[in-house]
C-alpha cells in the first residue's frame, strides 16, 4: 500500500504539506467508516486507500462493515435499484427485515468515534443507535436524483437524523433539513489502474489482449450496459471509419447481477459482425493493469453514457493525458470542461464529429490531453478527497 509521501511527485505542489497543516485541526480525532463490504466495488476500493493515508495524517481512521443475510442484501439491492429510479416491489416485511438487521449490527458494532460516516443505504438505519457523542454523516455514493418515492421516504426518516449528508453531484441532493455537502469521488494515481506503465509492460499487455498497435485506437471501457451505449459507440466509429482508418476497442466486464448484460453483449457482437477492427474484450473485475494499458494505448477515449453516476473512467483516461469524448450525463459533464478538457456530446453524430475533429487536429488532442491531466490532478485525485474529509471533520467539529 502507498503512503502519503509517495504521492508528493504526482499531486499539485504543496499539497502534501498543506494536507498535513489541515490535518492539525483534527489530529488524533477518530473517524469511523461503516459500509457493507470490504471487497469489491468502488467504495471499498476508495476506503482502503484513504484509510491508510488518513492515518498517515494523524487521524485515527477506522473501518467496520455490517453483516447481514443473503436476504438482507437482496433487500438492499432492491433499495439500491429503487433509489436509482427502477420500479421495485418493496413490501412492509422487507422494510422490517432491513431494520432488524441494522438493529442487530448496532448491538455488535461500537460507534465510539468523533465522526461516524455511514456509506450508502445498507447501514443507514444504524443512526437509530447513535449516542450523543460524535457527529454522524451519511455518505451517499449513488444517484438518488429520481428515487422511487416509497423507498426514499422510508430511508429519509433516518437520513434526517444525521448531522450532514454527502453526495457526489449537486443533482443527487435531496430536500433535507440537514447540511448537504458535495464531495466528488477520486482516483488513486498510484494504483495499478492508474500508475505509470513502462512501454514494455504496456505492449506486453496489449499483445496478450490481442490488440494490435498498427492503427489509432478508439476505446470505451465500461460494462455492457444499455446506459453506456456501446451500440452508439459502434455507430460513431462507423461514421468516423469513412475518413480515418481507426480501430475500436470495447472493453468491459459483465456484472454478475445484471441479467441484461448478456443480451447487450450479444447485440454488440452482432453489431460488430465481422469487422476485424472492432475488438470486444471481456475483462475480469480485477483487470486493472489491462485497463491501464488500454487507456494509455488509446488515441481517443470514449465514455458515451446515456446515464451515468459519476463516471470515474473518464478521470482515469484524462489522468493518462487522453482526450475524452463523453456522453452529456451525470458526473461526466463535471469532468469534461467543453473544448478544454474534453467534449461532452449528446448524440452518435456528436461523438463521431468530435472524434473526426480530434483526429484531424492532433495538436488539439495533445493540448486537451495535457489540460485534462492537470484538471484531474487538481480535482479528482485521492489527495483532494482526503482534504475534503479533513475539512468536513474540522467544520463539523466546530458546529453544534
Amino acid at each position: 500500500m502507498n503512503r502519503l509521501d509517495d504521492y508528493r511527485n504526482v499531486v499539485p505542489k504543496g499539497t502534501i504539506d498543506f494536507l498535513k497543516c489541515l490535518a492539525e485541526q483534527v489530529k488524533g480525532k477518530k473517524i469511523l467508516h461503516i459500509n457493507s463490504t470490504k471487497l469489491g466495488g468502488g467504495v471499498a476500493e476508495m476506503l482502503r486507500s484513504q484509510l491508510l493515508l488518513l492515518q498517515d495524517l494523524g487521524v485515527d481512521a477506522q473501518w467496520q462493515i455490517i453483516s447481514g443475510t443473503e436476504a438482507f442484501f437482496n433487500i438492499t439491492k432492491s433499495f439500491h435499484n429503487a433509489l436509482q429510479g427502477q420500479e421495485q416491489h418493496i413490501s412492509q416485511q422487507m422494510l422490517q427485515a432491513y431494520l432488524e438487521v441494522n438493529r442487530e449490527n448496532a448491538q455488535r458494532l461500537s460507534f465510539d468515534a468523533d465522526y461516524v460516516v455511514i456509506h450508502d443505504p445498507q447501514p443507514a438505519a444504524l443512526i437509530e443507535s447513535r449516542s450523543t457523542q460524535g457527529k454522524w454523516v451519511w455518505r451517499c455514493h449513488i444517484d438518488i436524483s429520481r428515487p422511487q418515492w416509497k423507498v426514499w421516504s422510508f430511508l429519509k426518516q433516518f437520513v434526517v437524523d444525521y448531522d450532514a449528508a454527502i453526495f457526489s453531484l449537486p443533482r443527487f441532493a435531496q430536500r433535507l433539513p440537514i447540511p448537504q455537502f458535495l464531495i466528488f469521488p477520486s482516483i488513486d494515481p498510484l494504483s495499478d489502474k492508474n500508475r505509470d506503465l513502462s512501454p514494455q509492460e504496456q505492449s506486453q499487455i496489449l499483445r496478450r489482449l490481442n490488440v494490435p498497435a498498427d492503427k489509432p485506437i478508439l476505446l470505451q471501457v465500461s460494462r455492457f450496459d444499455r446506459f453506456k451505449d456501446p451500440l452508439g459507440v459502434i455507430q460513431a466509429y462507423r461514421l468516423v471509419k469513412k475518413h480515418h482508418d481507426v480501430q475500436l476497442v470495447l472493453a468491459g466486464g459483465g456484472a454478475t447481477d445484471d441479467p441484461e448484460g448478456e443480451t447487450v453483449l450479444s447485440e454488440v457482437r452482432e453489431a460488430a459482425r465481422d469487422d476485424p477492427d472492432i475488438h470486444i474484450l471481456l475483462l475480469p473485475p480485477d483487470a486493472n493493469l489491462e485497463i491501464n494499458a488500454l487507456q494509455r494505448a488509446a488515441t481517443i477515449v470514449l465514455q458515451k453514457s446515456l446515464r451515468e453516476g459519476f463516471g470515474l473512467t473518464v478521470a482515469e483516461a484524462m489522468w493518462k493525458g487522453k482526450p475524452v469524448i463523453g456522453g452529456s450525463a451525470g458526473g461526466i459533464t463535471v469532468q469534461l470542461v467543453y473544448g478544454v478538457t474534453g467534449f461532452a456530446v449528446n448524440s452518435v453524430e456528436g461523438a463521431a464529429f468530435r472524434i473526426h475533429y480530434l483526429l484531424d487536429n492532433p495538436e488539439m488532442m495533445t493540448k486537451i490531453g495535457e489540460d485534462a491531466k492537470e484538471y484531474v490532478r487538481q480535482n479528482f485525485l485521492i489527495t483532494r478527497h482526503l482534504g475534503d474529509w479533513l475539512a468536513l471533520m474540522s467544520y463539523l467539529g466546530r458546529t453544534n
Binding site: P12, F18, A173, I183, V337, G339, Y375, Q378, G387, A391
Partner: protein, 230 residues
C-alpha cells in the same frame, strides 16, 4: 522594517504568515431549470452562494480557466445553450464591484434585460439544471512565514495555490482587506509601495490562481533584481 546588508534585502518587523484554505462545498438547496428561475433565485440566495458562483470559481479552476469566468455564464452558454446570455454574463468582472450586493444587482439587471428581449424563456432541454451552492471556507495556517521579499517569493512559489486565493480573493471580499494581504504587507512592512500597487492592481478576470502566483513572483523578481543591481 530594517535593511539587512548581508542578505541585500529589506527585513520586515512583522513577518508575513501564509494561510491557505480549503473549500467545502455545500448544496444551497435550490436549483433553476430556466433563466427566469435563475434570475429569481439570484435575487434571493445568500451572498455566500453568489460568492461561490463568481469569486470562488477561481478556487476550482486553479490551473485551467474555464471557457467562461463564472458559473452563471457557463451554465447559460453550455447547459441552456444561450450563448448570448453567456457572453453578457461572461464579460462581467466580479472584481469591478465594491461588494457582493452590487454584483448581485448587476447580474439581475443583465438577466432581466436579456429576458425582456425574448419571446420565450430559454430553459434547459438537454443540459443540467443550475444547482446553487455555497462555500464553507476552512482557514489553514501553513506555519510558513517570510520576513524579506526573497523569502516571500520563495515560499509563494512552493505553497498550495489556495494561499494565493486566501490572501487575495478571500481577504478582499469577505474579510474586507481591500488591497489584499500581499500588497498590504509589502507596502507596510517592506516599504515597497510601487510593488504593492502593482500587485493590488493585478487583474483577476479570466485567469487562474497559478497564473496569478506566477505574475506576483515575476513582479517580486523584478524588484529583487533591481535591488541586487544596486
Amino acid at each position: 522594517m530594517w535593511y539587512d546588508v548581508t542578505m541585500g534585502s529589506r527585513i520586515a518587523e512583522h513577518p508575513f504568515y501564509f494561510t491557505g484554505c480549503w473549500e467545502l462545498r455545500e448544496m444551497a438547496g435550490r436549483s433553476a431549470r430556466d433563466e427566469q428561475q435563475l434570475l429569481e433565485a439570484i435575487e434571493e440566495i445568500p451572498l455566500d452562494s453568489l460568492h461561490f458562483h463568481t469569486h470562488s470559481f477561481f478556487l476550482r479552476h486553479l490551473y485551467i480557466a474555464g471557457p467562461y469566468p463564472n458559473d452563471f455564464a457557463t451554465w447559460a452558454a453550455i447547459q441552456v445553450r444561450d450563448r448570448v446570455l453567456g457572453e453578457k454574463l461572461g464579460i462581467l468582472d466580479p472584481y469591478d464591484f465594491e461588494n457582493l450586493e452590487a454584483l448581485r444587482t448587476e447580474i439581475v439587471n443583465i438577466i432581466d434585460e436579456h429576458l425582456s428581449q425574448l419571446q420565450i424563456i430559454p430553459r434547459v432541454i438537454y443540459g443540467e439544471p443550475f444547482h446553487f451552492m455555497q462555500s464553507r471556507i476552512i482557514e489553514v495556517p501553513t506555519g510558513l512565514e517570510a520576513r524579506s521579499l526573497t523569502e516571500f517569493r520563495n515560499i509563494l512559489a512552493t505553497v498550495d495555490a489556495s494561499v494565493v486565493y486566501y490572501h487575495n480573493f478571500e481577504a478582499i471580499l469577505r474579510l474586507g482587506r481591500r488591497k489584499g494581504d500581499f500588497a498590504l504587507w509589502i507596502e507596510e512592512q517592506l516599504d515597497l509601495p510601487e510593488l504593492a500597487r502593482k500587485i493590488s492592481r493585478l487583474g483577476f478576470y479570466m485567469t487562474t490562481l497559478e497564473s496569478i502566483r506566477h505574475r506576483i513572483i515575476k513582479l517580486c523578481d523584478e524588484v529583487l533584481e533591481k535591488e541586487t543591481r544596486g
